[in-house]
């Protein structure tokens, strides 16, 4: 289970970081969402992975730690609110700059090719 869990966190984080580095706001938001999933799972694992254990110390030989679950809940709520804000902000960016480039750059026409330049020169 540990291996599967670690692989899942790794895959989520890698895809998240990759998408975060893209130039359009939509992939960036997706990237941040995936990254926060990865982070939440990681935080959950910091209390050790155990199934069927009681969250109370002293009742059994091993126990499951309830605190990381509380931390994850807080992180989920905050992450959710931030993502919602970011979605609205990037829509605003789209409306203000008429494209969804993260730098707000306007699309420029591709430079004319050499052949075209020669043709127009003649």
């Amino acid at each position: 289970m540990e291996l599967l869990f670690a692989l899942a966190i790794g895959a989520l984080t890698t895809s998240g970081v990759y998408l975060l580095l893209r130039a359009r706001t939509f992939p960036v938001i997706m990237g941040l969402t995936l990254l926060s999933y990865g982070v939440n799972l990681f935080l959950f694992a910091s209390g050790r992975l155990a199934t069927g254990q009681q969250p109370v110390i002293g009742t059994a030989a091993s126990y499951s730690d309830p605190l990381p679950q509380a931390l994850v809940l807080t992180a989920i709520v905050i992450g959710f609110a931030m993502t919602a804000f970011l979605v609205v902000l990037s829509l605003r960016n789209l409306a203000d700059n008429e494209n969804d480039h993260v730098d707000g750059r306007r699309e420029t026409a591709p430079p004319p090719s050499k052949l075209e330049q020669e043709v127009s020169g003649k």
């Binding site: 990681f42 935080l43 990381p68 807080t74 203000d96």
Partner: protein, 512 residues
């Protein structure tokens, strides 16, 4: 257990909630209530400062849970100093904002108060995860404030700022998870006990967590590889917001000062002084980068934004060396530079409002109105920022220079700080002489009116640097005592033994 500790958090919280529901009330009523809230917050911060001067730690345990099991607020000299610094700054920025900058967004005052609340939580909390929550509270308010006023350039700068800080939050959570997985606690005092006991493979986990935490705080404080978002965002923000943001980078520095000497201090065994040998060269490079940016700035606000980065470098260099004298000098400079930079942001906005289309660009333009008043304020701010005598920036830098022990570090710090100071002076002289002296003939026909609130708040905030000079003795005594307290970990660890108040007749007994 004194209940005063919760006041700087509750007052802006309740005031902010009131503002949320009063979005459609007359603006004069909203302004009066909002400024009254900030004044109350300042009063509570001063009360806490008076409490903290006796040098003891005061603990406020939420829900009466004995630390380390519950979240605690901890008041010491450092926290009290930061609270008063923020409250004074917040009050003047708020008065400035109520001079007209708060129009156009009904929730401006609410966001402003929530931002102050987030700052106060960050300064008071004694719990690592609660520090994360405080960062998020102040950040989400700052996202809204940064957008205040609208405009497409603000949207882009804001987008970068939000994305960067969200990535920073993810890193913060990962490092918190790493440290918790090994130590099983997030209470800072308990971490200071547990981290020196970590052995074996776990050591590397804590080390990685600690270093990642430094990256997060470095992002907040704008240390060099992580500082390029700052000039753009700060220069685009409305003046009172940019001025309030002057304290935001100081939150990162505060977090470094709070966490590293305590958790990774001299007693931390193998993890002692983690990351500090990285911090010193980075601080010097940050300082140099800030100076280069200031020399290249093409408008006043960008110039001041790079000044924020210069002061971050100046503050972190002595902190990284880890001496009590260094920290004391840095704290003295921190008070001075925060107020000065904030005042310069306000002055830049006033200059822009009197120059018509030229705005705050460093170009020749028709003579501005109120030129004498504004140029004197700019002169005071620039002299304090560049660190010339007789203003407080000079004393701050002098204390920093004195605090270094002779050696290679001294040569580097003296060299970078003095040459950097000289070049900053050139940047300010160039900006000031072009903006105030190189005028083309004629007057601007219709300047924006300058009202009393704006002029008075900017004037007082600028002149606080003189107040610091007058009170330099008591202030440096206080920062020295603060530095002593920060490096004395045993005092902080002892808060684990604080008896929390237990009711005489527990409810359970009565029901039975």
């Amino acid at each position: 257990m004194t209940h005063w500790l919760i006041a700087p958090i509750l007052i802006p919280l309740l005031g902010g909630i009131l503002q949320v529901f009063m979005g459609y009330a007359p603006i004069s009523l909203r302004r009066t209530l909002a400024i009254a809230t900030t004044v109350l917050m300042l009063v509570s911060a001063v009360v806490l400062l008076a409490l903290a001067t006796d040098g003891s730690y005061r603990v406020y345990a939420f829900g009466n849970w004995q630390p380390p099991f519950g979240i605690v607020l901890v008041l010491d000299r450092l926290a009290a100093l930061m609270l008063v610094l923020t409250a004074v700054l917040g009050l003047f920025c708020h008065i400035y904002a109520s001079g007209g900058a708060d129009e156009g967004n009904r929730q401006f005052h609410g966001l402003f108060l929530f931002q102050l609340m987030g700052l106060n939580i960050a300064f008071l909390t004694g719990d690592l995860f609660n520090l994360f929550v405080a960062f998020e509270v102040l950040l989400i308010a700052s996202y809204g404030l940064l957008m205040h006023g609208g405009g497409s350039s603000r949207t882009v700068a804001g987008l970068h700022y939000v994305v960067l800080n969200l990535a920073g939050s993810a890193l913060f959570l990962i490092s918190v998870g790493m440290i918790y997985s090994v130590t099983g606690t997030l209470n800072m005092a308990d971490l200071a006990v547990k981290i020196p006991q970590v052995t074996g493979n776990n050591l590397n986990l804590v080390k990685a967590g600690g270093m990642m935490l430094l990256v997060v705080f470095g992002l907040k404080a704008a240390i060099l590889p992580l500082c390029f978002w700052l000039p753009k965002a700060y220069a685009r923000a409305t003046a009172p917001v940019a001025a309030l943001f002057a304290v935001m980078t100081k939150v990162g520095i505060y977090a470094i000062v709070r966490i590293y000497p305590l958790m990774f201090g001299d007693d931390a065994g193998e993890l002692a002084n983690l990351g500090m040998d990285w911090l010193f060269p980075l601080a010097l490079v940050t300082l140099s980068m800030g100076v280069i940016g200031a020399l290249g700035a093409d408008n006043l606000k960008t110039l001041v934004a790079w000044q924020v980065i210069i002061s971050v470098g100046t503050l972190l260099a002595p902190i990284a060396l880890g001496s009590e004298a260094g920290l004391s000098a840095a704290l003295f400079y921190l008070v001075s530079t925060t107020w000065t930079v904030a005042a310069l942001f306000l002055v830049s906005e006033l200059v822009a409002s009197q120059r018509g289309a030229a705005g705050d660009s460093i170009v020749t333009a028709p003579k501005m109105h109120h030129r004498t008043f504004l140029s004197v304020l700019f002169l005071i701010g620039a002299v304090a920022a560049a660190g010339l005598p007789p203003l407080s920036g000079f004393f701050g830098k002098l204390l920093i220079l004195q605090s270094v022990e002779p050696g290679a570090e001294m040569a580097w710090l003296w060299g970078v700080l003095l040459i950097g100071g000289f070049l900053t002076l050139i940047a300010y002289s160039r900006a000031g002489s072009i903006v105030f002296w190189w005028n083309i003939d004629g007057h601007l026909e219709t300047p924006e009116p300058m009202n009393n609130r704006v002029a008075i708040s900017t004037g007082i905030l600028t002149c606080l640097t003189m107040l610091i000079v007058v009170l330099a003795g008591p202030l440096s005594d206080f920062t020295r005592a603060t530095a002593e307290q920060v490096y004395d970990n045993q005092g902080y660890i002892n808060i684990l033994q604080t008896p929390v108040h237990i009711p005489q007749n527990p409810l359970v007994g009565e029901i039975n």
